[in-house]
Symmetry: C2
Subunit: 389 residues, 2 copies
């Protein structure tokens, strides 16, 4: 049995290599960028007026207003340095001007058909060059705006829009099949017999996948060797990544590992020193497709998915209660988190074990308690795996 | 000019009242549940075997195995109390049995066609009732599983699946129009003239809305009174919520507040004591439609959207650097966060003001620094508004 650390390392080293595709800008949201994005021009592209007001050349008490420079107009010029130009936020700074005074600090009156602006604050408060966002101040043409490898969030979308990037090269999500197994499971539309339960794991995983931009195909297979072989063969041929739940433990109908091996999926590990989720099986085909055969108990399924499939985030939490756990296993406990003065606190909900998933609805994630320790004290810090965003 | 706190209170008190709809289970993900969900049966619905192994009635050294109880089979019964039944995880506990011993702790051999299980651990280590997940242990039939008002995440999807909830009553997202204004803006497909810039705000907002499950319709309107009136009228009639950017400040072509008033949108406030985003205008129609007229600078637009439109989360961060800000305004600064021993630390990126959105790509959210203070010391805790998930 390998450790959680080793298992994670194997999963990461054998991750399915995503396809690269070019997609329209807004479709790139949430995906990994695989090209650098450069500024095609300076940011801002011109000396940009940053406040509505007047643009001046010389600091004097009052100015004749020559005209107005609006945003979206080509650059005008100040005819006489004693005068001023009314300027609007977003406009090009007129040539001949070097400072912008906002409307709040001037009084504009029309006298004999001539518009005069009078400064209403001490002249000493006007700083040369104020309220101008200078050409290239943020970025120069040719600068790298975004580096490949990052995950695209709304600010990156805005940056690409402003650089005219309408088509973006990104990693595409894998095509994923979610397969539940187990003869006791029935469809959620069915009224179960006393010894049956409705399937919930495939819905759990489908929802969790959708959260990260993956539309999964759902299947249910009964514990029948021939059926498992034929159906898994077909599903493997149509998908990049397979998430199975159930059928990986010591039971007499736990055929999944055997059938996967028969289908040419190479086992990379089976069983991890953790609770819940110990029977987790992970393998890979020659073509690089990966199979996560997760234990069937809902909490185990979900923990393994969150720990081994989702992107890692380096979050940590502070326990607000002591915990004890004797076995030499990494112990994952559902926790409810809350902020206390900038600290992320975690209240553990041990519940009644790996089949009790109803208490996950009170929780935000799992805390990871290392196998080496048996006592986990209030106030100690541990790794946190968030599942609620 | 009102405070951030007052502005937020007004926005919350006047939020668009969402439509209620019944959607298929998986479509309810990320939405607000508007009905309580009850357990239609006990969880688990039967005494459930929690380990593969044997089920016994009496603690003795060895047992004759009568047969196997598989998951998905109706309940069998132990004929003789000295014997045992092989049981699989997820199966009903056979009647006449009260304890399950996992395979790891027994040795099974076939002697003269009879299968015998011998216990391989001290009998004292076997606890009566072990490895059985009792009927109703997690929830009883009729118990409330989920309360209305919560946001549906994957665990809630799983709970509803197991309760047979195929159709769920939820709040539907509003229909949202995103409108950028400004004569200096051109489409992202266009090569801008020297005094033009490509529009980025509508892409920013569209992406941020998509993150919360809202597909927005995008529009661009130039600074023309008649056009603004006619187009805004049409857009208002087709949408529940309008997000405008630009045209709300003191500029001569800042027609937005005036036109909105002409269209019967009642102003609830204009200008908030904050930086960036001071010119924010907020209003509501008689039919309850809301209009967020956001300032046009990208950082202002985004800050106002995150602070006033997105769901509040009660996160706080610890500054890792001193900040100074003199004006009597709430100051929102983009920050990059990281975890340090369970504490969420924040490095501020003041950048070059509200038009410099390129530095948002280095950040995760905004820290909110109260107007009352001018000095914000390293180590102090402030409210955090996350925009990167």
């Amino acid at each position: 049995m390998i450790s959680v650390k080793e298992a994670l390392k194997i999963v990461e080293a054998n991750a399915f290599v995503p396809n690269i595709s070019e997609v329209p800008l807004l479709e790139s949201l949430g995906k990994i960028l695989v090209e650098d994005i450069f500024a095609d021009r300076d940011f801002p592209p011109f000396d940009r007026v940053a406040m509505d007001g007047i643009a001046i050349n010389q600091k004097v008490e009052s100015f004749k207003i020559e005209f107005t420079q609006f945003a979206g107009e080509s650059q005008k010029f100040l005819k006489s340095p004693e005068n001023c130009i009314e300027v609007m936020t977003g406009a090009v700074l007129p040539s001949g001007c070097n400072t912008v005074i906002r409307y709040e600090d001037v009084d504009i009156q029309e006298i004999d058909g001539v518009k005069i602006a009078k400064i209403t604050i001490p002249l000493t408060e006007i700083l040369p060059g104020q309220n101008i966002h200078r050409k290239g101040d943020d970025r120069k043409a040719g600068d790298t705006l975004l580096k490949k490898g990052l995950k695209i969030s709304p600010p990156e979308i805005a940056v690409m829009a402003s650089a005219g990037k309408t088509i973006v090269k990104v990693q595409m999500p894998p095509s994923v099949a979610v397969i539940s197994t187990g003869d006791e499971l029935v469809e959620i539309t069915v009224n179960p017999l006393p010894y049956q339960i409705r399937m919930s794991n495939s819905y759990l995983l489908a929802a969790a996948l959708e959260r990260v931009g993956v539309k999964a195909n759902l299947f249910h297979l009964t514990d029948d060797k021939e059926l498992l072989f034929n159906k898994l063969k077909e599903i493997l041929s149509n998908h990049d990544v397979i998430l199975l739940s159930g059928g990986v433990s010591a039971g007499k109908k736990d055929f999944v590992p055997e059938i996967l091996t028969d289908l040419g999926v190479k086992k990379l590990f089976h069983k991890v020193a953790q609770k819940p989720g110990k029977p987790f099986w992970f393998g890979k085909t020659d073509e690089g497709k990966t199979v996560f055969a997760l234990p069937g108990n809902p909490v185990s399924t979900f923990l393994c998915f969150c720990k081994y499939f989702l992107e890692r985030k380096n979050e940590s939490v502070i326990l607000d209660k002591d915990l004890f756990f004797k076995p030499d296993l990494t112990y994952f406990v559902p926790v409810k988190t809350y902020f206390q003065e900038g600290k992320l606190m975690a209240t553990p909900f041990e519940g009644s074990g790996s089949a009790d998933f109803a208490n996950l609805t009170d929780c935000d994630g799992f805390v990871e308690l290392p196998a080496e320790n048996q006592v986990f004290k209030k106030g100690e810090v541990f790794e946190f795996i968030r599942f609620r965003f």
